[in-house]
Amino acid sequence: MMGFYFSRLVEIYPFFLKGLWMTSKIAFISLVTCTLIGVILGIFRSGNNIILKRIVGVYVAFVRGTPFVVQIFIVFFILPDWGIQLDAFSAALLAMAIMGSGFICEIVAGGIDSISKGQWEAAASSGLTLTQQLRLVIMPQAMKVILPPLVGQYVLLIKDTSVISVIGVMELTRVGWVTVVRIPEGLMVFSLVGVLYFSISYPLILLSNYLERKMAVQ
């Protein structure tokens, strides 16, 4: 029986690759958007504008304080109520962007805060504008603090894309879930799904470990 199911599984293997492609697509798009939004929010969060700081703080508390499933349900079920129609794929991307940017914002803000105030003052007294101060003086130094946890966060975000399966996007976990109904070998099917996730996230984990060691020495 095992052998029979195994050959069935080999037959529908392309289905899994499609799921893997979908997962990679969602992961890639959302990592890029999360990083962009997260960096901007992080700069606000560590900045001097109290109102912006508070607003971003509330946003971050919401994102970090509630499970991602609940956030997906809020985006997917409640936005249509408010007149914003989204298909599952864009709802998934939106939910990922909201969640990921909140976490990345904290990492970026932590990195910027770790730079001493003297650096800002020195940059300002050299006649640099605020953007120049950030771009040329603060960010290059903050990068050392930001990069290792950022890559670690990327791994978490890639793994969180599996939760998107609950709203029916055909990504890797969903493919496993659909397959297990036809091929009732849970261990085999989800081992395959796990191996495919492993192949994406393990290289990133290694990169994160490497960056941590490299940045710690300096």
Binding site: T66, P67, Q71, F73, I74, S162, T173, G186, L187, G194
Partner: protein, 222 residues
């Protein structure tokens, strides 16, 4: 929009939410306790020099850390029955959470232990302290400051992760929101209430984590 947010329906469903909250508490508490045990064992195997223990522990930690929790839950949920084990959903969920958090906790504890310098132990021995005194005055104050805040962070993650158990129909907080949505179709009321309860747990644990960070962190005495 939020103008017609219906508070009455929330009050009507409050008992359901409270049972869900209690269930989430129960699942989280049991899982974090079991995860601590798993983590300590996995960490002990990981740092032991015995190859037969070390490599399985490394494999366990790395596999858990590089696959999503949802896949692990489904793996157990669909996989255990094919092995002939009939386990209730809630126990499957707790096992999944235990293994998942256990791997992370193993890494946290390892970081705590390796953060204490070997020379500190030697200095303690040289000062004539016995084992208990060395633990009490030298190792623990330093290791706890590095270990306890991330452990509390992990417990925040675990509480949030327990929401995924709703997908294998364990009756916890998120599942209550889903139940209410399917009965009354009021997703805004249902899921904002659920989010509110999770935020309450989050703020309590966060306050505890911040407090422990302030209290336990080791300040070098110069």
């Amino acid at each position: 929009m939020l103008v017609d947010f219906n508070f009455r329906i929330i009050f009507e469903y409050l008992p359901l939410f409270l049972t869900g909250l209690r269930s989430t508490f129960f699942i989280s508490l049991v899982s974090i306790s079991l995860a601590l045990v798993t983590g300590v064992i996995a960490c002990a195997c990981r740092i032991s020099g015995i190859k037969i223990l070390k490599y399985p522990a490394i494999a366990f930690i790395e596999i858990i850390r590089s696959t999503p929790l949802l896949v692990q839950i489904y793996f157990l949920y669909f996989g255990l029955p094919t092995l002939g084990l009939r386990v209730p959903e809630i126990q499957t969920g707790i096992i999944a959470l235990m293994l998942n958090s256990g791997a992370y906790i193993a890494e946290i504890i390892r970081a705590g232990i390796t953060s204490v310098d070997q020379g500190q132990l030697e200095a303690g021995t040289a000062s004539g302290l016995n084992y208990i005194q060395r633990m009490r005055f030298i190792i623990l104050p330093q290791a706890l400051g590095v270990t306890v805040p991330p452990l509390l962070g992990q417990s925040i993650v675990l509480v949030k992760d327990s929401a995924l158990l709703s997908l294998i129909s364990v009756m916890e907080l998120t599942r209550c929101g889903q139940t209410m949505t399917s009965e009354r179709f009021m997703p805004a009321e249902a899921f904002f209430t659920v989010a509110f309860f999770y935020m309450c747990i989050y703020f309590c644990l966060k306050a505890l984590a911040d407090w422990s960070q302030r209290k336990l962190i080791f300040r070098e005495a110069y």
